[in-house]
């Protein structure tokens, strides 16, 4: 991979001036993106008197773990153990993401590489459904869930997540662009069935696509508080529980700052692991596709 890149850079003229401009733009952009993030993290380590100091300080002067300790004390007082909330979140996110990626990519593969009656209509429906504002769908959606008898179960959050349209749309675009028909035909000649073509050929090539989809599905489920469908306290996810704990006004401002950081750490960790996978596979994927 690194070899490929350096080759490319040597071949094409890259002016030093251009490099400088790019670097400056990126640095400015990065500073703007990072600033509020730094502020949040810094806030989480501020003692209470620094949180309310005048003029407000951007960075922490005397870092302390007080806010986190306060938060853990508050968590320990919680009626349902926090580990249960954590399990709920983990289960909902894992099951929802897995289903979305598997079902979405199966469907996207057929929509991209097969031709059958109804394909065009289905593709168009998927595109159009992305344009419909979700808020009015809440009521029909709610009625469906209650009709199915899924109120107050994990299924109310997980199963609809399997049908998140964005995933199919994303996967189909990548399969269109990266998986060449000739490769699939060759495999079929060698006796591969359609499932083999999907699982052993298409999916490894579009690894960057489903890695990206995992991040997106993970994120949308991680932020889902499920308050409309889960009303038993022991079924509720972590973000909801933490939100309740720190919802107690200004006295809990420190703990609230700590919560923001904790809720941010999980997706960021997933993202870092996930992206390092993309960087590893990128070099080969384009070439095997030929």
């Amino acid at each position: 991979m690194a070899l490929d890149l350096s080759l490319r850079h040597r071949r094409l003229s890259r002016s030093t001036g251009g490099d400088l401009v790019i670097f400056t733009m990126l640095a400015a952009g990065a500073a703007f993106m990072a600033m509020p993030m730094v502020y949040t993290i810094s806030n989480a380590f501020k003692p209470l008197n620094e949180l309310f100091i005048y003029p407000p300080q951007f960075l922490v002067r005397h870092p302390t773990m007080d806010n986190f300790n306060d938060l853990f004390v508050l968590m320990a007082k919680s009626w349902v153990p926090v580990s249960r909330y954590f399990f709920n979140s983990l289960f909902i996110v894992a099951a929802g993401t897995a289903g979305n990626v598997v079902f979405g990519s199966l469907c996207a593969y057929a929509l991209s590489k097969h031709s059958f009656p109804g394909k065009r209509v289905f593709n168009e429906l998927i595109l159009l459904s992305l344009m419909f504002a979700g808020a009015v769908l809440l009521i029909p959606h709610y009625l469906t869930i209650s009709y199915l008898g899924w109120m107050n179960t994990y299924a109310a959050i997980i199963v609809p997540a399997w049908a998140m349209t964005l995933g199919v749309f994303l996967m189909r675009n990548f399969i269109d662009a990266m998986v060449h028909d000739t490769l699939l035909e060759a495999a079929r000649m060698d006796g591969a069935n359609e499932f083999d073509c999907y699982w052993r050929i298409a999916m490894p090539i579009v690894k960057p696509a489903w890695l990206t989809l995992i991040i997106l599905a993970f994120q949308s489920l991680w932020g889902n508080q499920g308050s409309l469908y889960l009303y038993a306290e022991q079924l509720k996810p972590l973000p909801y529980a933490l939100g309740q704990i720190v919802g107690g006004g200004i006295g809990r401002a420190g703990a609230a700052a700590a919560v923001t950081v904790i809720l941010m750490i999980v997706p960021i960790t997933v993202f870092v692991i996930n992206q390092s996978q993309i960087v590893q596979t990128m070099g080969t994927s384009g070439i095997t596709g030929e």
């Binding site: 690194a2 490929d4 890149l5 080759l7 490319r8 094409l12 003229s13 890259r14 251009g18 790019i22 952009g29 993106m33 990072a34 509020p36 993030m37 502020y39 949040t40 309310f52 005048y54 003029p55 951007f58 079902f103 199966l106 469907c107 929509l111 097969h114 059958f116 109804g118 429906l125 595109l127 159009l128 344009m131 419909f132 504002a133 808020a135 009015v136 769908l137 029909p140 469906t144 199963v159 609809p160 049908a163 964005l166 749309f169 994303l170 675009n173 662009a177 359609e194 960057p208 997106l216 923001t260 809720l263 960021i268 993202f271 992206q275 390092s276 960087v279 990128m282 384009g286 596709g289």
Partner: protein, 316 residues
């Protein structure tokens, strides 16, 4: 493939409806594997997306308060929006202003930063990807800006401005209509390097270096030519994807707006169509009217998408 298809015996006679159906059925049977691939997603998609949308289309012609059964009112909901709902017109104006700025700018930002980052060495690239994506990774990262723009003296920006003597009393950033929309737009752009940005990065890295080498031999001299003649044409499927994301996000952004300027913004300064719709659906129990707004917004977005599709065909 068509062994099961009926043989049309007549001489050049148009096939009857029954024959057409039989032919279609035979074709569908021949492709049953494809339907198996689609079924799991397709069924759920129909139940949780298509069906609710169809119901909303129907409800948009009714008065429905969720207690009594819907009453047919024809086009009344649609007429009401434009003839007797002043707040809706403000919402339309705000939505258009918001979408016209955040849509194209966020789209460009996604592409430009993805492209610039792609020019870097892998390790630096991974780090910068994280940094740029970080704001959209946490579901409520926009809350960060509330600390910064707090209206009292404890808000960081007010604190600094007061300290340096630039202002003599705190500015109510999120309550004063002069500042609300610009701040909301800025925060939205800050959060906009999300789905499309990641897609562009993955797409850019999927382009085989071979194409660049071939282009260099064919006389492509600098990175601008390379961008126009190689990168953009190769990126077209992803560009279309990004455009659709930009359209839907810029027309329907609400969460971040509400978190910043509150559920009832001063003088409706940041009130958008989707907020108006949510208000009628969940607070006023006027589902029919809310559905009509969703339908209207849907057609506006489809129109935008068709325009952008035309435009993108000319790229590269």
């Amino acid at each position: 493939m068509s062994t099961a298809a009926p043989v049309v015996t007549g001489t050049g006679v148009e096939p009857t409806f029954r024959e057409k159906m039989a032919d279609l059925w035979a074709q569908m049977k021949a492709h049953k594997v494809s339907y198996l691939f689609i079924a799991p997603f397709g069924i759920l998609f129909f139940i949780f997306t298509v069906l609710p949308i169809l119901v909303s289309f129907g409800l948009s012609f009714t008065y429905f308060n969720m207690v009594q059964p819907p009453q047919w009112v024809g086009w009344e909901n649609y007429l009401r929006m434009f003839l007797s709902d002043d707040v809706f017109l403000i919402a339309v104006k705000n939505t258009l202003l918001f979408a016209v700025i955040t849509g194209p700018v966020s789209y460009l930002l996604c592409f430009v930063f993805a492209w610039l980052i792609n020019e870097l060495k892998p390790k630096l690239r991974a780090f910068l990807t994280l940094l740029f994506y970080a704001p959209s990774i946490s579901a409520n990262a926009y809350l960060v800006w509330r600390f910064l723009f707090d209206g009292d003296t404890y808000g960081w920006i007010n604190g600094q401005l007061l300290y340096w003597g630039i202002i003599d009393r705190p500015i109510q950033w999120l309550i004063d209509p002069t500042w609300m929309m610009p701040i909301v737009i800025m925060v939205t752009l800050w959060m906009s390097l999300g789905v499309s940005f990641l897609t562009f990065i993955a797409g850019l890295q999927g382009i085989d270096p071979m194409y660049y080498e071939a282009a260099a031999i064919d006389g492509v001299k600098n990175r601008w030519q390379e961008l126009w003649f190689v990168t953009l044409p190769m990126m077209r499927p992803y560009l279309m994807f990004g455009a659709i994301i930009a359209i839907t996000q810029s027309f329907t952004a609400t969460q971040s707006i509400q978190a910043l300027t509150g559920p009832t913004p001063t003088d409706w300064a940041t009130w958008t169509i989707v907020q108006h719709m949510q208000d009628h659906a969940t607070a006023r129990y006027e589902m029919g009217y809310a559905s009509a707004m969703a339908v209207l917004l849907f057609f506006a977005m489809v129109f935008m998408q068709k325009m952008v599709q035309r435009l993108l065909k000319k790229v590269g």
